[in-house]
């Protein structure tokens, strides 16, 4: 097995608040291989966005990250300035809100070439050529004239394409996509997903795709990490997660996906009762136990990690329910 492109060990993100320290990410570990798509799934507030920002070293000032290991292609990203040098060049990121992620005051072209000129250099004309090329690659016609436009002149779908083109200007090896299609309507969403898959094949890009939408995961993921309350509750290949989900939380999430043909019209989709526990202070035992139909007294004690091969889950239960 070759060394992973990105290796994350025991990553933690803590935020100091007035009422105590909020542990947004509680010691998670995963690897991303070159060219693969890893989906990080979970509800709002489970720490998936904090994880992505921590990887890019873009956390807000109140948040502190720590890890026993965080390497990108062998480089230790916990050392000062390493992540700073990698981001925008070898690892790029796109965000949920294409409407606000571009600066309203500058043209598309200006925003696309500035990072390229900073990281790669060369003449401005060459950078503009590359930007036009990238726009065509993400399926934007009359690319030249688009470069002179401002973000407010483009639709949400086009802006997200611009964001993708901009992120790929420097040929990064890793793209972190934080809910990139959540703000788009369904047809545009499908187009963007297909575009990402095509680009991945063409460029050998590794993608970390962060989403709350498990239905979407089934269409793109090679491997899946399921997060709950700041921790990984289950990890495995897409096939393992969808065909043999082991953790009750994963099972509950899968029940929430409507399935054409199977789910009857008018039938209630699954919901998970209860709310996510507070992330302030320590969490003993399984964080999901208050919402879990299968919980027992022993769930309040530290939970073992079980599994085999690439499939792992954190639950007292040996086999899937």
């Amino acid at each position: 097995m070759t060394a992973p492109l990105l290796s994350v060990r025991d990553l933690r993100v803590d935020l100091k608040t007035r009422i105590g320290t909020l542990h947004a990410v509680r010691g998670i570990s995963f690897d991303v291989a070159r060219g693969e798509t890893l989906c990080i799934v979970g509800e709002s507030g489970c720490g998936k966005s904090m994880t992505s920002l921590a990887l890019m070293d873009l956390l807000p000032r109140v948040a502190k990250r720590s890890a026993s290991g965080l390497t990108f292609d062998g480089q230790d990203m916990m050392r000062p300035r390493v992540a700073e040098k990698l981001r925008g060049r070898r690892m790029a990121m796109i965000f949920q809100e294409p409407m606000t992620a571009l600066n309203p005051a500058f043209t598309i072209g200006d925003q696309m070439v500035e990072a390229y000129l900073f990281h790669v250099g060369g003449s401005r004309a060459a950078a503009v050529d590359r930007a036009a090329q990238m726009l065509e690659k993400v399926g934007i016609g009359s690319a030249r004239s688009r470069l002179g436009q401002y973000p407010h002149q483009l639709s949400g779908g086009l802006r997200q394409r611009v964001m993708i083109a901009m992120a790929l200007m420097t040929e990064p090896e890793l793209l972190i996509a934080d809910e990139p299609t959540t703000a788009l309507d369904v047809t545009i969403q499908a187009q963007i997903l297909r575009l990402l898959k095509d680009l991945q094949r063409e460029l050998g890009l590794a993608i970390i795709f962060i989403t709350h939408d498990l239905g979407l995961v089934s269409r793109i993921a090679d491997r899946v990490v399921v997060m709950y309350a700041g921790a990984v509750v289950e990890e495995g290949s897409a096939a393992e997660i969808f065909e043999a989900p082991a953790h009750p939380y994963t099972c509950a999430l899968i029940d929430c996906i409507p399935q054409p043909g199977k789910t009857e019209r008018g039938a209630h989709l699954g919901t998970i009762p209860g709310v996510v526990p507070s992330l302030i202070g320590r969490q003993e035992g399984c964080a999901f136990r208050d919402r879990c139909a299968l919980s027992e007294a022993v769930c309040a004690r530290p939970v073992p990690v079980r599994g085999h091969g690439s499939h792992h889950w954190a639950c007292i239960r040996e086999v899937a329910a």
Partner: protein
């Protein structure tokens, strides 16, 4: 962009005409002009003669149009008190006021933009609090107090700058410092608030994710957007500075427009007052137009409006 400018220009013209009607009405509302001109104890006959000579017996709209025509050619009438041309009087003093206003504004911007950016980047820290204190003092100190303190230190003790007059650029240093510091706080607050907002936007996060150096993120991506409301405030403050620097102009014996306005009010010199009001209002109109155009350049979304 051109269409936007033309639209704004049309709007500015309408406002300017409205202002001229008000300025005209101001003089008419101050009482019978012919009686005032004739002086105390004048006979009804001489008042009638004056009324005819000055065309005051014509219908009001006709008087307005002929007055507007005069004003358009730079003829603002005669001062009752100084017995000279109002236009000459005003344009003799407006230079001093403009220099003082521009210098104060330059000082205020040179202080408030870097300080506001600094306070925003380190918001909540000791730096932020120190900057806020410094700008609060500018607002709390009466300008006459700061003016006198500056005169004490720099004019009397150190003899670096003169305390009064308007003969060279050195005369403008102390009044410009006084006024500049006085108007710094609103600018500082606006820059700080705008920068805090801008630094928290998604596009600044995008800029950081692109791996741009912090300097570029702050001064290109954030500051450009934070400056839009500042430009509007510049227009308002410059307008205020032109008419409202009476106190500072009096203390430093800097013979400017503010001082003239103050005199014309105390001497009931209505033609002068009318000229000053008209000119200041037109200045506001021009400044607003300019700030609209600059903002359209800063923020392309405004050009469509």
């Amino acid at each position: 962009m051109l269409i936007y400018i033309l639209k704004r220009l049309g709007l500015a013209l309408i406002v300017a005409l409205t202002v001229s009607v008000i300025a005209f009405a101001l003089l008419r509302a101050s009482g019978d002009i012919a009686t005032a001109l004739a002086g105390e104890g004048a006979t009804p006959e001489s008042i009638a003669v004056i009324r005819q000579t000055y065309g005051l017996d014509r219908p009001i709209p006709v008087q307005y149009l002929s007055w507007l025509w005069d004003v358009a050619r730079g003829d603002f009438g005669q001062s009752y008190f100084f017995r000279t041309d109002v236009a000459g009087l005003i344009f003799g003093k407006i230079g001093n006021t403009l220099i003082l206003g521009a210098a104060s504004l330059a000082i205020a911007l040179a202080l408030s933009i870097p300080l506001g950016v600094l306070a925003a980047i380190y918001s909540g820290s000791i730096i932020d609090r120190a900057v806020t204190m410094f700008s609060l003092m500018g607002q709390a100190l009466p300008s006459f107090f700061l003016a006198l303190a500056l005169i004490m230190v720099f004019a009397i003790n150190l003899r670096m700058f003169p305390a009064s007059g308007a003969d060279s650029w050195r005369n403008f240093v102390l009044p410009a410092l006084t006024l500049g510091y006085y108007i710094t706080p609103p600018f500082m607050r606006l820059v700080r608030a705008g920068m805090i907002d801008a630094l928290n936007t998604d596009y600044v996060r995008t800029a950081r994710a692109k791996g741009l150096p912090a300097r570029r993120v702050v001064f290109k991506h954030a500051l450009r957007n934070a400056l839009v409301p500042v430009v509007g405030l510049v227009a308002v403050q410059l307008g205020l500075l032109m008419g409202g620097s009476v106190v500072v102009e009096s203390i430093f014996a800097l013979d400017g427009l503010g001082y003239l306005a103050y005199q014309s009010i105390s001497y009931r010199d209505f033609p002068v007052l009318q000229g000053v009001v008209l000119l200041l209002s037109l200045a506001y109109v021009v400044l607003t137009l300019l700030s609209d155009i600059i903002n359209a350049w800063l923020d392309p979304r405004l050009r469509a409006a």
